[in-house]
């Protein structure tokens, strides 16, 4: 089958070159069609990605396990907007807890918590009531028989002041939970950072090298985050938040310089700031008015084994609830907590805070936060899925509209080809006289149509890329162009060419040579 050999294409291209204006106008029609399809898909998928991004940025895939359990102290704040996360989690039926396993004492506690909601007096009562000292840390006489609790004494010498129930082996175990994307250990302290005669009181985060993968919109103004090797060897390396860098080093580049905390010298390996224009680094914030060192270094220097918290990201926002449940189960087993005992840790998502902070219209946020407790576990995910579905529908709609322009482009090609068959009847006769077979003529016309549509398609891809880039640069629309969308657009263009070129080509091939030679 030599339908599309090189000479056929050469003949077709020569023929097209002879009618430059017609050819270019037809190509423009095709270009617009393909560009429109591509731009629409770009806008649609961009919107999907943006929503997914916002959901993630709002912390919807973020789970934080905090050492200790403070639920008794905060069961009342549903009217209040700024909500202690654990409250919402604890006061409903978490799906990962088997109802049947709960003992009566726990049940009573829950009932009491619910009744006490909103009443300061009763909260005080509950606080003073010895029977309600459910938290193990609140009862010095309480016996803990899991290993981390036994380390409490050593930890308390460090004076970190939080429950000593989480360890880095817990974090390692959590890394094995299905659906978990990244896990970062967390130790937090306030420290004096000294460099020469400059001092700055700031926040110290002992963390894992994967933290930059968890924090969104982080960028390194200079240097890098500490490496796996440095973390393994518990080296004294430090990453400065941009606020600290500015306060301590001014405009100088701190990378390679030494700073001191706890009278220990740390080498600065990087400065971190944010790419987000929504959150500017400011003194007092937790991310950029802060310094980061490996948690292993904190453990080594302060002779610790515990963690303040463990930050987890879920690979998919839809799995947050399931992962929370798995992590809870895992830690209960690891900490050897009996069925009748409450957790000695707290698992929260940041969804609720994110809702309260922004990214969603205030009335929606209020409606969501204000009404049903524990909503963030179910409804936010559903909300995310609904938004996802909505944008997918939008993408389909946009692409559908754009496809119409592609169809118009195709009809344009067919029109020009039909016209060209009539116009070039004599040419067809000449070609037949010198030995062109009917199928040579057909192949030539199909090749012309395909050449038109593919040229238009490629030009359309370029135009679509430019349009998408322009939309995102000047109108700040979020656009995404995937390679598959590009291939799809060009493929559809070629298919349109073949489809709409076939009929005119058939007409051309069917012409009688003698008649067409006589045609004036």
């Amino acid at each position: 089958m030599n339908m599309f050999n090189r000479s056929t294409l050469a003949i077709a291209i020569r023929a097209l070159r002879r009618n430059r204006l017609q050819t270019s106008l037809t190509i423009v029609g095709m270009t617009i069609g393909v560009a429109a399809v591509l731009a629409m898909i770009a806008i649609g998928t961009g919107a999907e990605a943006a929503i997914e991004d916002q959901i993630r940025a709002a912390g919807m895939n973020l789970i934080v396990v905090t050492a200790g359990n403070y639920k008794v102290k905060a069961t009342d704040d549903f009217g209040g907007g700024a909500v202690e996360p654990s409250a919402a989690l604890r006061s409903t039926d978490p799906p990962y807890l088997n109802r049947g396993d709960r003992d009566d004492r726990r049940e009573r506690h829950f009932i009491f918590s619910a009744i006490s909601a909103g009443s300061a007096v009763r909260r005080l009562t509950s606080f003073l009531s010895p029977t309600l000292h459910a938290h193990p840390e609140d009862d010095p006489m309480e016996k803990h028989d899991h290993p981390t609790a036994r380390q409490r004494l050593g930890d308390s010498e460090a004076g970190l002041g939080s429950a000593a129930t989480l360890t880095s082996t817990d974090a390692e175990a959590i890394r094995g939970v299905r659906g978990v994307q990244y896990v970062a250990e967390g130790l937090h302290q306030n420290v004096h950072v000294k460099a020469g005669d400059r001092r700055w009181f700031t926040r110290l985060h002992g963390t894992d090298m994967r933290l930059p993968l968890i924090r969104r919109a982080w960028t390194f103004r200079s240097g890098r985050f500490f490496s796996a090797g440095e973390q393994l060897k518990a080296e004294q390396v430090m990453v400065l938040g941009s606020v600290v860098a500015q306060r301590v080093f001014g405009d100088e580049n701190p990378v390679g310089r030494d700073v001191a905390i706890w009278n220990q010298s740390f080498r600065v390996v990087g400065v971190v700031t944010t790419t987000s224009w929504m959150v500017a680094p400011a003194p007092g914030d937790d991310q950029f008015d802060a310094v980061y060192i490996p948690f292993s270094t904190v453990h080594r220097l302060l002779n610790l084994a515990k963690l303040n918290d463990i930050t987890i990201t879920a690979a998919s926002t839809g799995e947050v609830s399931r992962i929370m449940g798995d992590v809870t189960k895992l830690l209960r087993v690891r900490h050897q907590i009996g069925d009748d005992k409450p957790d000695d840790f707290t698992v929260t998502t940041q969804a609720r805070q994110a809702l309260a902070k922004g990214g969603m219209r205030p009335d929606v946020a209020r409606a969501v936060v204000g009404n049903v407790a524990g909503l963030e576990k179910v409804t936010l995910e559903q909300l995310g899925k609904t938004l996802d579905r909505a944008t997918r529908t939008m993408t389909a709609l946009l692409a559908g509209i754009a496809a119409v322009s592609l169809l118009v482009g195709g009809i344009g090609i067919m029109n020009i080809m039909l016209l060209s068959v009539t116009e070039r009847t004599r040419e067809i006769g000449i070609r037949r006289a010198v030995g062109a077979r009917a199928r040579d003529v057909r192949a030539q016309f199909v090749a012309e149509a395909v050449a038109l549509s593919v040229t238009g398609g490629v030009a359309g891809v370029l135009a679509g890329l430019v349009a998408a880039e322009g939309l995102s640069r000047y109108l700040h629309w979020s656009t995404t162009i995937s390679p598959s969308a590009v291939f799809l657009a060009v493929g559809v263009a070629a298919a349109v060419g073949i489809f709409f070129g076939w009929y005119p080509a058939k007409q051309a091939a069917g012409l009688d040579p003698i008649q067409s030679l006589r045609y004036e």
Binding site: N2, S7, A10, I11, R14, R18, R426, E427, G429, I430, R431, R432, A433, V434, G435, A436, R437, A438, R439, D440, P513, I514, L517
Partner: protein, 255 residues
């Protein structure tokens, strides 16, 4: 004349067109032989069937009845593709209206038959080379990149002849080749034909309605009402080369 050696053998060929109910008999039984190397002039008034005859000889059309043997092979029942291959390899056409592709250089026009030579593929470079050679043979090597509308009628007809000869056909079919040319360029074209016959032994079949043009042929066949009414050797054959020399001489004397 024996059929066995004839390049073209036509036996009782008829052609009938169905035109709005009433059938038109374009050919009513034509029988003749044409031998390799002949220069045959076919004359007759319009409607005599000479054009239809040429189309059948040129494998552009099939006879309604009768047999047409080309090289001893019956081509009346060949498929369209097979007829195309014969047109490509064995027959060259020259038309009254030149039939060059517009907005296409002379060279590309000449190349055209090679694009459809499916049994032997030629590289683009070789194609250009052969086309250039054919253009040189008709004296237009310095017009290769010109488009038809930049060429005179005589030059266009010579491009058409170069195209017709590109695949070294056995037969050159010329349908009123001088119809659009002045007398001087007509003689030039006839000179080319006569030289092709003499030097390359190409069989030339010239269709014309002008008796004085037919005089260049070595055999004249007359058509009337779809039948051959006369078929004889041309006793008073004109020699185009001599006429051209005389014209050149005459103009030289004038100056």
């Amino acid at each position: 004349m024996t059929t066995a050696t004839a390049l073209i053998a036509v036996r009782d060929v008829t052609k009938t067109y169905a035109m709005e109910g009433a059938p038109v008999h374009a050919l009513r039984g034509v029988t003749l032989d044409i031998h390799a190397g002949e220069f045959v002039a076919v004359v007759g008034p319009s409607g005599s069937g000479k054009s239809t005859f040429m189309h059948i000889l040129g494998c552009l059309d099939r006879p309604t009845a009768g047999r047409y043997l080309l090289d001893g092979r019956d081509v009346s029942a060949l498929s369209d593709d097979e007829l195309s291959a014969i047109r490509n390899r064995r027959i060259g056409f020259v038309f009254q209206g030149f039939n060059l592709l517009a907005r296409t250089s002379a060279l590309e026009n000449v190349e055209l038959p090679l694009l459809y030579a499916h049994d032997h593929r030629v590289s683009p470079a070789a194609r250009r080379q052969r086309a250039m050679k054919a253009l040189t043979a008709v004296g237009l090597e310095n017009r290769a990149e010109h488009h038809p509308n930049q060429l005179s009628g005589g030059q266009q007809q010579r491009v058409a002849i170069a195209r017709a000869l590109l695949n070294d056909p056995a037969i050159l079919l010329a349908d009123e080749p001088t119809g659009n040319l002045d007398s001087r360029t007509s003689i030039e074209v006839m000179d080319i034909f006569q030289r092709l016959k003499e030097e390359r032994g190409i069989t030339i079949i010239l269709i014309t309605h002008e008796p004085q043009v037919a005089e260049y042929g070595s055999r004249i066949i007359r058509f009337k009402d779809g039948r051959v009414v006369a078929d004889q050797p041309n006793a008073s054959r004109r020699a185009a080369a001599e006429e051209l020399a005389a014209v050149a001489l005459g103009s030289a004397e004038e100056t």
